[in-house]
């Protein structure tokens, strides 16, 4: 049997991007040296030169060059975290609690340890340092201490010669649990005062308004999973100085390091972290998963340890999108203007804090969407329960409320006898409007006033659907085109078509006063007579195309063809997370700023005399916390809008839905890379479709019932319709090149658009997502 090949992580060699032409070989060692992070942070910088289309340049900003890593990916040669291998490597495995709530009476690891080939079995007693970690609040035990609070909570870890053996050893660990009654109802938790955050928003006086129409409804959003295809994975390698080197698929390597080091009882400089190839993220890689565990096992055994979750464990091993229960009351006057909105929003944060606090802030501040309304009363909670912990997922607190407020907008439009588009247009925020937090909608072009009225990008976007007709019902349709597809469930009888709209408003970058920054180093030097730019950041390429974007910015700013990206690791300064649609803005901004500094240095420097380099920290403008009582405050950096129109066919007898078209108008400020941008909109729309009609983690009394791709369905190519996109560029003068974050907004708006279309086809109220066949047939008085 051949020895497994040693697999160097991608990080070992610089990712090289030549444009145009073939990919150059990896750089030789001296040039791949990291660009050191500055000792003290450089002063904050703004994107100089701001908005505008830079001079078009091959492979530069505005073009769609091949991704630097695409060739490796199509050859099966790109190393994902799960592909890492080191000589003498052991496999780690986690024993998880099968109970949502229990006291740990005792743990006996003797039988597991006695198995030949098992090198370590560790419990909470073996944690070298701090016993808890967490992204915002450190309340998540490294390994259970005395009590488990959700099904799947890590209790013990094992290192063994093979993964199989590690799994079998974990089964031999004897844990004596005293079962406790789990609290699984988030409303009960809120009533009992058990929540991570409560955030109200108060504006005007909703109670004293006299409306012409009122709609009050309750909405339920199920628990969605990010389900990235690449499982949680990584490897830890002990170093000679008693430290450890970690290769892991993560969205924010510096935040990982901050959390890991105290738990390991190591100074951060003894831990070197490099981002390993990431198979999608969508928020699932914000919180720690394998990091501390594999490092503990590596330090305990003195050998490299790899961990990789299987699909079921992945469902337990990361946080999910918060399920929500929301009660909304919307009222309008006779002119079709929103009069007041009242909302009670309960998000289920599950057992540990994760990012619930920030998610609640988004849910509250974006609770009515991009509409003007002067009287508001919003109460939002993030409950603590014994359900699986919830945290970051694409859309981050904007998704749940978007489903509710858009459903309300449709219901109120209907009550007023207005079309959904006209009602939204009448209430759309415009330049100078205030959000319910008092934040002024700014950064739009004031010259584009519309008949003396301030320019409303949303009204403009809604208007663009006129040129994009709803697809006609084809004459003789093939059965496979109908709901049910090859299931051959209908010949068209009972099939109704429906059309619906959805609008989403998403904040970009971190909000509420968070010190949000990114760091980039750029070095320009001559290599064999050719000018080469090296870029060093810690920004995670999760699939969104950020590596490509960095090369584009460098080509545009420094007019070089060859750009090499150094490994994304903790030798660079923090880039922040690849989340909140922020990486183009923030690390894009940092790379641009570093290039500008290099350009400056070049003015009196000849590259023949040696390289030039600069490292810059980029910050967006400061934001403010939300007032804890009124919710007022300029809490967001940038706002991004997306509008979807969905067309569906519904078999109203069987409750089967087929989405036949998704048309999307999105404002991205400035198109940085057309192909990557379209990919983000397509992918975001697909995840919104998933939430609308199929994706839900089912829990019963805290137990997950469908932790597999057999039972948790994500959209396949048969579920996705063709998508038409119209991209709008309302530049933001404060952001690099005027861009707006683009990854999340489509995830917000596609869900309500699809549900609205199903309502249009069926006439049902549909206040719960995902919409299931039984929701569509229950009124027929029989179970499907």
């Amino acid at each position: 049997m051949p020895e497994p090949a040693r697999h160097e992580p991608n990080g070992r060699a610089a990712i090289t991007a030549g444009a145009p032409g073939p990919i150059a070989p990896p750089s030789s060692e001296p040039f791949a040296a990291p660009i050191a992070a500055p000792k003290s942070p450089t002063p904050p910088t703004r994107a100089a030169g701001g908005v505008g289309t830079p001079t078009p340049r091959t492979g530069g900003v505005g073009s769609s060059p091949a991704r630097p890593e695409a060739e490796a990916k199509v050859n099966g040669a790109f190393d994902y975290a799960s592909d890492l291998s080191f000589p003498g490597m052991l496999w780690g495995h986690t024993l998880r609690s099968p109970h949502p709530r229990a006291r740990l009476r005792s743990i006996d690891t003797a039988a597991a340890r006695a198995i030949p080939g098992v090198e370590a079995v560790l419990t909470a007693a073996d944690v070298p340092g701090k016993l808890h970690y967490g992204l915002i609040e450190d309340d998540q035990p490294v390994l259970s201490l005395g009590e488990v609070n959700y099904e799947g909570e890590p209790v013990a870890i094992v290192a063994a010669a093979t993964l199989d053996l590690a799994r079998r050893a974990a089964e031999r660990i004897e844990v004596d649990y005293e079962l406790l009654e789990p609290r699984c109802d988030p409303e009960e938790a809120v009533e009992a005062g058990d929540f991570f955050r409560y955030q109200p928003v108060r504006l005007g006086d909703p109670e004293s308004q006299v409306p012409a129409a009122v709609v009050a409804r309750e909405y339920v959003v199920g628990m969605q999973d990010q389900a990235p295809l690449g499982p949680e994975s990584g490897a830890a390698v002990p170093t000679a100085d008693g430290g450890v080197e970690l290769h892991v698929a993560t969205q924010w390597v510096h935040s990982d390091l901050e959390q890991i080091a105290p738990c390991l009882g190591l100074e951060p400089d003894r831990i070197h972290m490099a981002i390993a190839g990431i198979g999608g993220a969508f928020g699932a890689r914000e919180d720690l998963s394998v990091q501390v565990h594999m490092a503990m096992l590596a330090l305990a055994t003195g050998r490299p340890v790899k961990m990789m979750y299987d699909r079921a464990e992945s469902f337990w091993g990361h946080v999910h999108r918060h399920p929500a229960r929301m009660r909304y009351e919307h009222a309008a006057d006779a002119d079709g203007k929103l009069l007041y909105v009242k909302a009670r929003i309960v998000l289920d944060g599950g057992a540990y804090a994760s990012t619930t606090e920030a998610v609640v802030g988004n849910a509250a501040s974006l609770a009515v969407g991009p509409y003007e309304v002067e009287h508001v009363s919003v109460d939002a909670w993030g409950a603590r329960t014994n359900n699986p912990p919830c945290g970051a997922m694409r859309g981050f607190g904007g998704v749940q409320t978007c489903f509710a407020y858009e459903s309300q907008m449709d219901a109120l439009a209907e009550a007023l006898g207005l079309s959904p588009v006209e009602f939204r247009r009448r209430n759309a925020v415009a330049q100078g409007s205030k959000l319910i937090t008092g934040q002024v909608v700014d950064a739009y072009d004031p010259d584009r006033a519309d008949n003396g009225k301030p320019f409303s990008p949303l009204a403009d976007m809604l208007g663009r659907f006129k040129d994009l007709p709803v697809p006609a019902v084809p004459a003789g349709r093939d059965i496979v085109d109908l709901p049910g597809g090859t299931g051959n469930t209908t010949h068209g009888e009972g099939v109704r078509r429906g059309v619906g709209y959805g609008v989403g408003l998403k904040n970009v970058c971190y909000s509420e006063g968070f010190d949000d920054y990114s760091t980039a180093g750029v070095r320009l030097e001559l290599v064999d007579g050719q000018t080469v730019a090296f870029v060093h950041t810690a920004a995670a390429e999760v699939g969104q195309g950020h590596w490509s974007l960095q090369t584009q910015i460098v080509r545009t700013e420094l007019d070089v063809d060859r750009v090499e990206l150094l490994p994304n690791d903790t030798k660079a300064g923090s880039a922040g997370s690849s989340s909140a649609s922020r990486q183009s803005y923030m690390t894009g901004g940092a790379v641009k700023a570093a290039c500008e500094a290099v350009r400056e240095l070049l003015q009196d420097h000849d590259l023949a005399d040696g390289p030039v380099e600069a490292t810059r920290v980029f910050r967006h403008r400061a934001t403010k916390p939300m007032d804890p009582v009124t919710g007022q405050g300029e809490s967001h950096v940038q706002l991004a809008l997306c509008v979807h129109r969905a067309t569906v066919d519904v078999d109203i007898e069987l409750g089967l839905v087929k989405v036949v078209d998704l048309t999307c108008v999105q404002d991205v400020g400035k198109i940085m890379n057309p192909v990557a941008l379209e990919g983000q909109i397509h992918g975001g729309s697909a995840q919104g479709l998933g939430l609308a009609v199929m994706e839900e983690m089912i829990t019963e009394q805290g137990r997950v019932r469908n932790a597999s791709f057999t039972d948790y369905l994500i959209p396949t190519i048969l579920d996705m319709p063709p998508m038409r996109l119209r991209i709008v560029e309302n530049a933001d003068p404060e952001s690099p090149y005027g861009l707006r974050g683009a990854g999340e907004p489509p995830t917000l708006s596609s869900t309500p658009a699809i549900v609205a279309a199903i309502r249009d086809a069926t006439g049902l109220a549909l206040t719960q997502i995902p919409v299931r066949p039984e929701h569509l047939t229950a009124h027929l008085g029989r179970q499907p």
Partner: protein
């Protein structure tokens, strides 16, 4: 138990100690051939798709013990260059975790059909999950690959986007 097969044109042998060991596990964990991906090990995602004697299979569902003397082709050996080029050019690769399996399925499809319609493409790729792309650019890429393989000059997928300032 020793199993000999041909993998991407080369003879390979693996010593299996569990009769149920999957071909996916043998490829990755025993032979260090990481090109084929593991996203579920349940036959649900298609990330592990390989050609076994020319037929696409989920390698996580095939026992290595059944592969004696058989021909296995992974993303490394199964995929014509134009298919890979089209995936890159059309933006069909984001995180890329689904890509090796998808490429094998597309190679198989284009081997059977030289100019598949959208409906045929969707049917053929229904077993390959992708969480990133929403599949639009994958369909573009299949058409572009089909055209390139038909001898036409390589066509870049039409831009669905119109920028409207």
């Amino acid at each position: 138990m020793r199993v000999e097969m041909r993998i991407d044109g080369e003879t390979a042998a693996a010593d299996i100690d569990r009769p149920g060991e999957s071909l996916l596990s043998t490829l990755r964990d025993r032979l260090g051939l990481y090109g084929t991906k593991n996203a579920c090990e349940q036959g649900e995602c298609g990330s592990c798709t390989v050609l076994l004697d020319g037929d696409p299979v989920c390698s996580c569902l095939v026992a290595t013990a059944q592969c004696e003397g058989r021909e296995v082709k992974t993303v490394v050996g199964a995929v014509p260059r134009p298919v890979r080029d089209a995936f890159i050019a059309c933006g069909a690769v984001q995180c890329g975790f689904c890509t090796p399996g998808l490429l094998v399925s597309v190679a198989d499809l284009l081997d059977r059909e030289d100019d598949p319609s959208d409906a045929v493409i969707r049917e053929a790729l229904a077993g390959n999950l992708c969480r990133c792309t929403g599949y639009e650019k994958i369909i573009d890429a299949v058409h572009a690959a089909a055209e390139a393989m038909a001898g036409a000059p390589p066509v870049r997928a039409a831009d669905a986007t119109e920028a409207t300032p």
